[in-house]
């Protein structure tokens, strides 16, 4: 059988990072093909090249044996490639039918033929076996799962030959996932090639026909799903030796008081009665699949997200945290994965970015509002040296720095404030390999100074390298607590949520 789409020797380099290197991919009609790999393995880059968002540095793409150029999203649409994005691209204020036909409305003279469009939308939904969606309702009233189906219907309605789904199941329940795949099977029978991207191996194993496994921008294996088991897939996904940074698993000092205790934190549909303890001088890792609730849990603790119920205790005393400023007052600092949107002040200088929350300690005199600039600069300089931040000067705008250095700027912001608990959500996302190790060392040294460090990451390697204690979250609950080192395969298996709840101690 000849492949419907073939990518050969695709390479793509971003500043400092080789995202893809000589990647080959073959897709066949009537197959569900999965792209498997850890975060940063290059899955989404590959798909973005296919969709025309990025162009490859080198390599060729063939469709039906003919070489093609994909340089824009319009090109890929013309070639019959349809993409369902992770962030849904539906307009909430329009109806289902209006969304499906946006940009290619059917007109009768100048007048829109709404009846016909509604009919066709209904028909295309029915073809997919989707019932009880009123096409004349606004999209905003439907649940996330239904919106996902609408989005697929929208993409399908342009009759693509290749349908790409980027993490479609991250927010879906098992039941919804099963329904989604029933639809995908129908499409498969029509001869459409489906590319499925997911972190959930169980789903991949159960529903997909074949897969390409990526690791650090390279293809490590092409597999038929009926020939491999989950463990083998995990092996292909993981690096053989991850000795770039290896942390000694610290021996536990017993009878230590927990610094922060969470009990029964609950948020409807997101976090399910989570209780845990965070100790000073330790790095506590939280991991789980995308959407398992680990990041929302810590946003709740920081006061950036409301909770339905639950209790937070610091040093044994119950505290009320309703907004981030409360959390900072109690000595908690949060660094999120969206550095640009939630961390940095891009137009301000590095010095301002570091010192902003602690400025009130730098007054000239106690009751004078004026700040002592030299003292600020000196302590910023000290921190910059300590974390070896590379920048032109403290008065350079922070937007000019690289990702790793920006991350260090935010770390130093909370260091200057001298907080006891530092929470890092995905601390090394978008950071190149060298800076990654540096950030690990910083976290390590902070912990050894007696701070409580919490690392939330979907990257199992990272979690294993860093943590003294690991909490694994599945479906909003802590499923497993690891107090001792384990190997990566076990962790990867635990994250998938299959083994029974247990504490390895």
């Amino acid at each position: 059988m000849k492949p419907i789409l073939e990518m050969r020797n695709i390479s793509k380099r971003f500043t400092g990072v080789q995202a893809l290197l000589d990647v080959d991919l073959q897709l066949f009609a009537g197959e569900i093909h999965s792209i498997i790999g850890q975060n940063g393995a290059g899955k989404s880059t590959l798909m973005k090249i296919l969709s025309g968002t990025y162009t490859a540095d080198s390599g060729v793409i063939y469709i039906n044996g003919k070489q093609v150029q994909i340089s824009s999203t319009a090109d890929s649409a013309k070639l019959g490639i349809g993409i369902v994005y992770q962030e849904l691209s539906l307009l909430n204020n329009l109806t289902v039918a209006e969304n499906i036909f946006l940009g290619r409305e059917i007109v009768n003279g100048v007048q829109l033929d709404n009846a016909k469009m509604s009919d066709m939308a209904r028909k295309s939904l029915l073809e997919l076996g989707i019932e009880n969606i009123d096409v004349d309702q606004n999209v905003e009233v439907f649940s996330l799962a239904k919106r996902q189906l609408i989005e697929i219907a929208k993409v399908i309605s342009i009759y693509p030959r290749i349908l790409i789904l980027d993490e479609p199941t991250a927010a879906l329940t098992n039941e919804d996932t099963r329904r989604l795949f029933n639809i995908l099977f129908k499409l498969k029978e029509q001869g459409i090639c489906i590319v499925f991207i997911s972190h959930r191996l169980a789903e991949i194993k159960k529903y997909c026909d074949s897969g390409t496994i990526l690791m650090n921008g390279r293809v490590t294996a092409n597999v038929r799903m009926n020939e491999v088991n989950e463990l083998q897939i995990i092996e292909y996904m993981l690096e053989d030796n991850f000795n770039t940074f290896h942390r000694k698993w610290r021996t536990k000092q017993h009878k230590k008081q927990p610094l922060l205790e969470l009990s029964d934190i609950y948020l409807h549909n997101q976090v399910n009665y989570v209780s845990c303890e965070i100790f000073p001088g330790e790095i506590t890792g939280f991991t789980g699949l995308l959407g398992a609730g680990q990041d929302i849990l810590w946003r709740i603790v920081y006061g950036a997200q409301r909770k339905d119920s639950g209790e937070i205790r610091i040093n044994g005393k119950r505290v009320r945290i309703t907004c981030p400023s409360d959390a900072v007052q109690f000595g908690i600092g949060l660094l999120t994965e969206n550095r640009k949107e939630e961390g940095l002040f891009p137009e301000m200088t590095c010095q301002d970015n570091i010192a902003l929350p602690s400025l009130k300690h730098f007054r000239i005199r106690k009751y004078t509002p004026l700040l002592h600039n030299r003292r600020i600069r000196n302590s910023c300089n000290d921190l910059a040296k300590r974390l070896s931040i590379k920048m032109r000067s403290l008065s350079a705008k922070v937007k000019l720095l690289s990702g790793g250095n920006q991350q260090k700027i935010i770390v130093s912001r909370w260091l200057m404030k001298d907080l006891d608990i530092l929470v890092f959500i995905e601390p090394t996302r978008g950071v190149d390999v060298g800076a990654k190790t540096e950030i690990y060392r910083i976290l390590e040294s902070l912990a050894s100074q007696g701070k409580a460090i919490v690392v939330i990451s979907t990257d199992t390697t990272e979690i294993l390298q860093l943590s003294d204690r690991i909490y694994i979250m599945v479906d909003g609950k802590i499923s497993t607590t690891l107090n001792e080192p384990t190997d990566e395969e076990t962790l990867a298996r635990l994250i998938q949520g299959n083994p029974e709840k247990k504490v390895i101690a």
Partner: protein, 327 residues
């Protein structure tokens, strides 16, 4: 790799870049000055220069408030009305025999109240700033009109202190108002660049989400910016009353647009978080020079409005053009 170069060297570099950026608008001011001097000889006479300083004072002070509001991504179109309210209060209190300093204090307090109310409605209820300040523009002007109608819509301001503010010379033969501007801009410069609050204004304007996660109270900071705008309008109103020697219902109307022009000329955008208050001062100077020149040239007052509007347009285009080149 050296982590940090000596701060003296890099600071110089940064400062130089800043100077070049400021130079753009400064050059415009110089070119206009030379052009106007060549067109009318009277323009550069000492008398007229003093006149320009006095004329710029009102717009310059209003622009302080407008700058703060622009920095947090807002706009205050009620400044002209606030200014009118302050002028009316001053004049009527003086007419009733109050102490001039207490009268001024009352003006400031009244505008602090109106400005803060604006801020609360905009930031706590999350209603668009343009709509709210257009509404409060009407309400505040109405309030002041109710007051001035008690005095048959025309109050003379006769007081040694107000006269001194208008015509007095504090030192070096320069008008008092010159020093008032210098002092106020020094204060606001220190506030914006040398205090915690000032840095927070830039932070909240530049990235509100990050600011909230830093533990800042965004709504309070933004509300305070509208308070500052109220204070600025109050001071501008006091000076307007002193300069005119009387208050009538046309005082302050349309002045908010002059302030917007000055701020936009100074390079601030509606996005917030960027810009310098000193460039705003140069912007205000340009506005005053153009208006003064047109008066000297005998241009109809209405065409002056027309020129103001066109000048905002030019300023926006100018900014857009230069920004595209810098990035």
């Amino acid at each position: 790799m050296t982590t940090i170069r000596t701060s003296a060297e890099t600071n110089k570099e940064e400062r130089f870049k800043g100077v070049v950026e400021t130079l753009g608008i400064f050059l415009v001011a110089v070119v206009l000055f030379v052009l106007f001097s060549l067109l009318t000889s009277r323009f550069s006479s000492q008398n007229n220069l003093f006149n320009i300083i006095k004329q710029v004072s009102i717009v310059a002070i209003l622009s302080i408030g407008m700058s703060c509001v622009f920095l947090i991504g807002g706009m205050d179109l009620s400044m002209g009305s606030n200014m009118f309210l302050s002028a009316v209060l001053l004049a009527s209190l003086l007419e009733m025999g109050a102490n001039v300093y207490i009268a001024m204090l009352v003006c400031v307090i009244a505008c602090v109240v109106t400005g803060t109310l604006n801020g609360i409605i905009i930031e706590r209820l999350h209603i668009n700033c343009v709509i709210v300040t257009l509404g409060s523009q009407l309400a505040i002007r109405g309030l002041a009109l109710v007051l001035i109608e008690r005095f048959n819509s025309w109050i003379y301001v006769k007081n040694p202190v107000t006269r001194y503010i208008n015509t007095g010379k504090l030192a070096f033969g320069l008008p008092t108002l010159f020093f008032v501007i210098i002092v106020l801009y020094t204060v606001v410069g220190l506030l914006l660049y040398r205090t915690n609050f000032g840095k927070q204004i830039y932070a909240v304007g530049g990235n509100p989400r990050a600011a909230a996660l830093c533990g800042f109270n965004n709504a309070r900071i933004k509300t305070l910016c509208y308070t500052i705008s109220g204070i600025a309008a109050a001071l501008a109103g006091i000076i307007a009353a002193c300069r005119l020697g009387m208050v009538n219902p046309s005082v302050g109307s349309g002045y908010e647009f002059d302030a917007v022009t000055a701020v936009v000329l100074g390079g601030m955008s509606l996005k917030g978080g960027e810009g310098s208050v000193f460039k705003t001062l140069i912007g205000a100077l340009i506005v005053a020079m153009i208006s003064n020149f047109m008066t000297l040239y005998g241009v109809d007052a209405n065409f002056k409005d027309c020129a103001t509007g066109l000048f905002i347009l030019l300023a926006v285009l100018f900014n857009r053009f230069t920004q595209q080149h810098s990035t």
